[in-house]
Structures are given as structure tokens and as C-alpha cells.
Amino acid sequence: MNAPAHPTELSRRWSSLSGIDINWKLVIPALILAEVINRTTGASTTTLLTEIIIFALFASSLNLLMSFGHMVSFGHSAYFGLGAYGFTLAVTKAGLPLEAAVLLGPLVAALGGLLFGALCVRLTEIYFAMLTLACAQITYTVLFQWYDFTGGDTGITGFMAPRFGLSGQNFASLTLAVVTLSLFALWWIVRSPLGLSIRAAGQDRFRAEALGLTVRRVQLTAFVIAAFFAGIAGMLYAVLHGSAFPDYAGLGLTLDSLIMVVLGGLNSFAGGIWGAIIYKLLGAFVPSLVHEWELVLGLILLVIVLTAPKGFAGLIARLGLDRKGGR
């Protein structure tokens, strides 16, 4: 055996030997750029920016499942919705102060993830996906029909000043900070031994089991983590609009997040972020330019998928613009 190497040297060697890495030099400029856009443009741009940031987190939480755990969820909006309602109901029903309610949202989402995830991870592939869909629709129905508690289909509005009363720009900055921290945490998880196990279980569950991994337990852990971060996104969204509606847990949002992840690029950490940026920008501009926006959006989606079947991150990797990523 070699003489023990210096710890920092070892960790440097590990970094160079693992397949995914982040180009830190570009993160700070990107954050600064986002903040500059936020401070120099109008209110609607700020709102759009805030939504993009929130959905970057939501899509990235789904991306943890899809790209790394290879678990395709058709019901991820459930945890977005639970995050939003967990927060909202903590304010309106439990009368908790906002600071405490903010924490409760993601926790409720994680709890939902634990409950539903325990059922779902017993299945694989399309059957896993369909059970997540069923769980999400059950959540949606409860939010939709339980008038006395959740306000039913017309939702909960007017219970707080949107954005905690912050200006749009300040809230965008706050969101940027929270989401950056959350994304960093997700990034940390992906790179940690837990992340390695999630990836192992996703890439080949039989291999992973033969190595001694209880795959279902790993998958459940990934599911709960994804639900937790989706819950943060949902909570932020509820704060942004000062309202919660059953739609937040609906099929539409699930499809949106799926499109984002796939458009952005599977098997890449940045895929969710890219997808949120592309899809939200399309969703903002296309309807304002043409009346038949669904048609145009559909055509654009088609063109993107046909020209970049590995998603945007894959395209970037192919063009050699992003040497480290795109895996």
C-alpha cells in the first residue's frame, strides 16, 4: 500500500475521479447576474424571475429523483402543494407566526413524501409513476373538497401580505438566497455517499442490492428529500402570491415539472435549472406574442426535443460549452 496521502490531496483526487462536478467560477457570476436583472428591470420581470427561481428548485427536486434515482414521478406537484398548504394552514388555522409556518410547509411536504413514498417505492418504473400520480390526485382531491379546512376549490387568499410585505425585488433576492442554499444542499446530497447510493440504486438496483444496499430504503430517502425541497418551493410560491390553491398539487404542475426536467436535460444536475429557465420564459413570452400560444409552444417543444434529445444540458455538453457537466 502507498504511504497515506495528505487528506486535501486525497479529496482533490476524489473530485477529479468522480463524474459530476460544478463549475464554481460560473455560479457567482450567474447569481450576480440574476440579482442585477432583478434590480434593473420592471416588476413583472421580477415576478417572472422569482417564479423561475422557485421552479428551478421545484424541477431540481424532481430531477434528484429522475436523473439520479431514476425514479420517474408523475405526482411531484403533491409535495409542492403540501408545502404551500402546510405553510398557509399553519398561518390561517394554527395561527403560527410566519417564521414558524415557513418551516412547517416543507416539513408537511416531507411527511407526505414519507407516507406516499413508502407505498410507491415498492413498485418500479411505470407502475411507480402511476402510483405517485394516484397519491398526488388523492392529495389534490383532499385540498379540493375539504372546504372547512382547506377552503376547497376556491383556495385560500388574502390571509397575509404577499411576499411578507416585502417589495418584489427584495423578495426575489430573498428567494434567490433560499433557493441557492437549497440547491447547494441538493448538490451536496448528490455528491455525498447518500447521493452515490441513490445513483447506484437508480442505475442498477440489482447490482446495488447485491452489494448490500436496501434499495427501497434508499429510494424512500430520496423521495422524502425530493418532497422536502419541493415543499420549500411550494411554500415560497404560496408566499409569493399570498395564496394557496388545489391547482398547486394538480396534474398541470406535475406535467410542467416533468417537461422542465426533460427539456433541461436528464442525467445532469443543472437540468432542472435549465428547464425552469427555458420553460418559464417560453410560457411568459409565447402567450404574450401569439393568441394561439399552445400551438406555438407545442411546436417549440417539438423542435427542442427533436434537435436536442438529451435536453439542453446535453446540448451544452455536446457543444463543449460546459466541460464538466452534462452527465
Binding site: L119, A134, C135, Q137, I138, F206, L258, E294, P309
Partner: protein, 290 residues
């Protein structure tokens, strides 16, 4: 009342099966989750609406001819889509195919809206089928009975094609073992296209047949696709008999549910699916989850 509800359930079940059959066929062979199946169904309904007016509104032959011609056109549209879009990404991740079909949903919805407007349209029912068989105080409407019969004919036709014709043998070879199909010298792409055409035809047929009995508008696609999927999943995706059983179970449970647990109508179909899936996962031995 229980009897009538049971019959109601059977009728809805068959309608569901008609929608689900094409979906499960396409999935069984090419593993494509065709989210645009509901759009093809919707196109079938709208084309029937147009054709009936040209051919002979109110008559039996006019209606059925319109349905079949409409389904054939839908089938062509399906092939066009398969050849121009889906075929190009068979090698890519299955999710890419899902997104392509979602894109098609958006496109078809807006095109339908541009042509026929956002308001609902009414496809006239053939006069001969407007009535009911009345036994004592019980009414059994004729139209769904005829749809039920048409569904049975389609089931039998599919069974005949799949199990007793050369095309069916090739199809099953393609489904069971891609390598085997290649060995037999079958062009896999040809099979995929043919199956997509057949699936689209079934979708169009279902849309046309159901059109006079419900609302037809540009939002019909989403209403249909989710329940069709659930029916397939309950029966086991790719399994034709399973789809039939799943459709009947869903139809009958929904109809009976109106009497016994009406508040669950919104989730009932999802609860059935969840129960079936959870049951399936529990029925499996521990260890290797497959």
C-alpha cells in the same frame, strides 16, 4: 336500481375500454406512453361531427360510416405524427417520447380550437338509437347498448388479429422479444408504425362512437387521457384482456359508487388504481422488486 347501475357501469366500462385499447396496444409494442391518445380521440369526435353532416345526419349508416371514416383519418394523422416526430427519437430516453406526445396535445388542442371554436358542439344521435328498451319502470338506453356491442365486436376483432393472423404473430414476436423480431427479419419500424396507426384508429373510433353521448369540445383530450391510462394500468399496461377487465371494473365501481360513496367520485378511479398497485406490490415476494 342496483341492476340499472350495474348496466350503467358496464356501458361506461366499455367506452373506457374503447379508449384504453389503442393506448395499451401502442404501449405494449413500442413502450411509448402516448399522452396524445386523448387528442386523437378528440379528433375522432370532431371528424365524426363534420362527416355526419356531409353524409346523412340522423341515420344509422351515416353515423357509423362517419365514425369509421373519421377513425381512418385519425389513423393517418397518427402515422404522420409517428413518422415525422416519434420515429426520430426511438433511441432516446422514454421520457423524451412522452414530452413529444405532450407537445402534440398542445398543438392538436389549439388547432381544434381554431377550426371548431371553443364552444361545445353536438353530434346528432342517429334517430334509431335515441330511444330505450323499457322493461317495467326500468329504462335501458339504446345508444350505449349499441356502443357496447360495437366494443365487443372490436374486442373480438382485436383478438382475432392478434392471435390468428400472420400480422398478429409478427406483432407478438415484436412485443415479446425485439431480438426475435429482428431474427425473423421483421422491420421493427414497420411494426411500430403499423401499431401506431392501429392505436390511433382505435382512439378515433372511440371518439366518434362516444361523440353523440357526451360533450365534444377542445378540452376533451385531458378528460379522457388520464382515465384511459388508469384503466390500462389497472389491467396491466400492454395487456388487452387486462384493459377490458380494468375498464369494466372502473365503470361498474364508479356507477355503484354513486349509490354507496358519492363523495369519492373525484378520486374513485385513482383509489382503485392505488389499491390495485399496492395490492400488486404486496403480493410480490420481498427481495428482488421487479
Amino acid at each position: 336500481m342496483v341492476l340499472i347501475q350495474f348496466v350503467n357501469g358496464l356501458m361506461e366500462g366499455m367506452t373506457l375500454f374503447l379508449i384504453a385499447s389503442g393506448l395499451t396496444l401502442i404501449f405494449g409494442v413500442s413502450r411509448i406512453i402516448n399522452f396524445a391518445h386523448g387528442s386523437l380521440y378528440m379528433l375522432g369526435a370532431f371528424l365524426t361531427y363534420e362527416l355526419v353532416q356531409i353524409l346523412a345526419p340522423g341515420t344509422l349508416w351515416g353515423f357509423f360510416a362517419s365514425v369509421i371514416v373519421g377513425a381512418a383519418i385519425v389513423s393517418l394523422i397518427g402515422v404522420l405524427f409517428e413518422v415525422t416526430a416519434l420515429r426520430r427519437i426511438y433511441g432516446a430516453d422514454g421520457l423524451m417520447q412522452l414530452i413529444v406526445t405532450i407537445a402534440l396535445v398542445l398543438i392538436v388542442r389549439d388547432v381544434v380550437r381554431m377550426i371548431w371554436g371553443p364552444n361545445s358542439i353536438t353530434v346528432p344521435m342517429p334517430d334509431a338509437l335515441a330511444g330505450a328498451i323499457v322493461i317495467g319502470e326500468n329504462y335501458f338506453p339504446l345508444f350505449p347498448i349499441v356502443v357496447f356491442a360495437a366494443g365487443l365486436v372490436i374486442v373480438l376483432a382485436m383478438i382475432w388479429v392478434i392471435y390468428f393472423t400472420r400480422a398478429g404473430i409478427l406483432l407478438r414476436a415484436g412485443t415479446d422479444d425485439r431480438g426475435m423480431a429482428a431474427l425473423l427479419g421483421i422491420n421493427e419500424r414497420m411494426i411500430f408504425t403499423a401499431v401506431f396507426a392501429a392505436g390511433a384508429f382505435l382512439a378515433g373510433l372511440a371518439g366518434g362512437l362516444s361523440a353523440p353521448y357526451g360533450e365534444v369540445n377542445h378540452l376533451l383530450d385531458t378528460t379522457v387521457i388520464v382515465s384511459a391510462f388508469i384503466v390500462c394500468v389497472i389491467g396491466g399496461l400492454g395487456n388487452l384482456y387486462g384493459a377490458l377487465a380494468g375498464a369494466l371494473v372502473v365503470g361498474i365501481t364508479k356507477a355503484m359508487g354513486v349509490m354507496y360513496f358519492p363523495r369519492l367520485s373525484m378520486v374513485l378511479i385513482f383509489l382503485i388504481m392505488a389499491a390495485v398497485l399496492i395490492g400488486r406490490s404486496l403480493g410480490r415476494q420481498g427481495g428482488s422488486a421487479r
